[in-house]
Symmetry: C2
């Protein structure tokens, strides 16, 4: 089964706002074996919407629209659906009572415009909306299906999950989409591609997509199948071969964020951590504390932008900073060792660098980063020179630091 | 002039990836007075792409496509354009030489598949690509214009800015889009809407869009005009009236992020700041240090998740934590006062709360936040109970804290 998604709304054609509902819908549809073959974003013009509906219904068995079901004149999706299907709109008294009831419950008077929301194309079935006034609509037409959903995610999501998905599942057939996701860090996208293209191109039934983010390359594997067990074996084999080819650069085969992997490792080893962040300014702490339960391993962190704070709060000797510079391997190491000692944590991590746009020199240009991790006996150290703007450099620096912690646990024998 | 944007690529029809190039293009087109009336996302199927081109060219004077210009069999945009226009593809020797030259420069052998990138529909004009092998194409057809751009942003953006925009500007006419953006915090979207709808609905020539983000509502004003001076006066008047209606909740009329406003205020007052973050775990420090030059006002920060660190590093009396609880107005105030004293900063900010999902009680449920700002003489204090998940709660908490700093400077007489 193939589907098209149509998002309606003038605000989706501005530079400020993007349709994100279609990502949720695509995920849910794919899980049922329904492929999304096109997405269209149109404004609030009735003729344009009607034309889009008619074209989409010629191509796809299932057409889902998002938005334009509100009470105001801007909202033209109901009218456009009726026009595209050549049907009349009728007022649905049950829908009207529900809307009136909703207003009564909230102690507000219903504006006359809201009556428009009770208009329904002939033969359409309203989908109740417990989270708003706009009902959805389920419309069968010549063996095709047109489903109209409201735009706000907190209305659309429960309506789709509760009312649309169960009915679609019945007719979706036995085709399924199986997926796997690997994530790597420390290799540019081109290198990942070069290493794994000779492998994945031999798997014709698997769609492989590489997505590059700062300091990370994700590898998405997708297989459409009617034989899920066999396809799962194929995908697992491919995951294994890719992992072998990329080695220690793969930090997850489960689609986890790097901070989740690090949190899991710290918990599994009952290890605690303290941070002394200069260049990242709290970003590493923020990422680690975004994981529930982070208080069990994160003792605390210090954001030590100034040399004075590096010395007074963390304990880096002022003499060392003067001799080597605040951005140096020696200061990163001292930050790691000192924060560990002062906090009583099992591990101390220190990071320093130049995020720019100013502050770079010929010897230490913008993008230079030094990071160190100390456990009291030994220390792992890394340095890098990252491209990009301030935000990109800081994010890559946080990836480098988190990856150092991961490698400390996963490859204790060295060769990090 | 009206334009449609067509993004090509199977990966844009997965749940993982979204077309973002169209936001950049829409912004640039809008500035020239060109309105985007539709966006379409299609897979790598030649027939589908060709059909989309043909339909779009019937509706709009300008059609811009993104992606599908690579060397592999997946890449079908060139062929689809030729098919839609009924033109043949010819090999452009100059383009071929450029691609060969590029490979030579990087010391790599050109694969035979790359020859496909030198195919050009008859009458099309290649747009050189200094950042990749895929040239763009500029194609005039019966008074309409079809422009094909490569997908990677670092190829698309310079090509559009350097080669497409100057030529479009010549024919775009004298219609212009003027925009204004206000941002507010501390009011839910529905309240903002209720306060300003009676105002903005009276300005018929201005499109007003409200966008809600956690802890923030943005108000976008857009006016299409041939009389820019008059429209600018109208917009400025509307901005003034909206600002009056929303009062202190407006933190910018220039489209700035809240951390930018706070950074500007700290700099303007030559004030320094130190942070003691529990619930936000480094998020406030990270946001402030994302602004270049933050070392001039941010002395440092401590991420104090555990009670021990609150006491040992920041100096909150253990007795106070035992009596009032780590999540309390008293501990937020002590964090603010102590971090200020220990750091020597002009201002100290302390924040504590429960981000969840665990840790809530009947008295202090998940989402409870206490924040305090001390200047040594007096303290501002706030508390809130935020809805949403962990990420949303932490972000709203950081908004509340940053807004407290803003109000300290902007409304020194009180009533924050």
């Amino acid at each position: 089964m193939q589907a098209e998604i149509i998002a309606v709304g003038a605000e989706l054609l501005t530079p400020y706002r993007q349709d994100t509902n279609s990502l949720f819908l695509t995920d849910r549809l794919n899980r049922m074996g329904i492929e999304v073959t096109r997405k269209t974003i149109v404004g609030d013009d009735r003729k344009q919407i009607a034309g889009t509906f008619a074209e989409a219904l010629r191509r796809a068995e299932l057409v889902i629209s998002i938005g334009g079901l509100g009470p105001t004149e801007d909202d033209q999706t109901r009218e456009a659906a009726a026009e595209a299907l050549g049907r009349r709109l009728r007022r649905d008294e049950a829908v009207l009572r529900e809307i009136q009831e909703r207003f009564r419950r909230y102690g507000r008077a219903m504006a006359p415009v809201n009556e428009r929301q009770a208009l329904v194309p002939e033969g359409a079935e309203p989908l109740p909306n417990p989270n708003g006034t706009a009902p959805g609509l389920w419309i069968e037409a010549d063996g095709r299906l047109l489903v109209l959903l409201p735009g706000p995610p907190r209305e659309l999501m429960p309506m789709f999950l509760g009312q649309v998905e169960p009915r679609l599942r019945e007719r979706a057939g036995d085709r399924r989409l199986l997926t796997r996701e690997l994530r790597t860090t420390g290799l540019p996208e081109a290198d990942v591609e070069q290493l794994i293209a000779p492998i994945y191109t031999r798997y014709e039934g698997v769609q492989t997509t590489l997505l590059a983010a700062p300091g990370e390359v994700q590898i998405h594997l997708r297989a459409w199948t009617r034989q899920p067990e066999q396809a799962a074996r194929t995908l697992d084999e491919l995951v294994e071969r890719i992992t072998l080819a990329l080695g220690r650069h793969v930090f997850t085969t489960q689609g986890e964020a790097l901070e989740e992997v690090v949190a899991r490792l710290l918990n599994a080893h009952h290890a605690t951590l303290a941070l002394a962040e200069s260049i990242t300014g709290g970003l590493i702490a923020q990422r680690l504390t975004s994981i529930p339960g982070s208080s069990s391993y994160l003792v605390g962190g210090i954001v030590c932008y100034s040399n004075e704070v590096k010395t007074a709060w963390v304990g880096v000797p002022g003499e060392l900073i003067r001799q080597k510079g605040a951005v140096s391997a020696e200061v990163a190491l001292a930050l790691a060792q000192q924060i560990r000692e002062r906090s009583g944590a099992a591990l101390g991590l220190g990071i320093t660098g130049i995020a720019g746009p100013g502050g770079g020199t010929a010897e230490k240009p913008v993008g230079t980063v030094f990071v160190a991790l100390s456990d009291g006996r030994r220390a792992l150290e890394r340095s890098a020179h990252f491209p990009g703007d301030r935000e990109r450099i800081r994010w890559q620096a946080s990836q480098l630091a988190l990856d150092l912690i991961r490698r400390y646990f996963q490859f204790p024998a060295g060769q990090h």
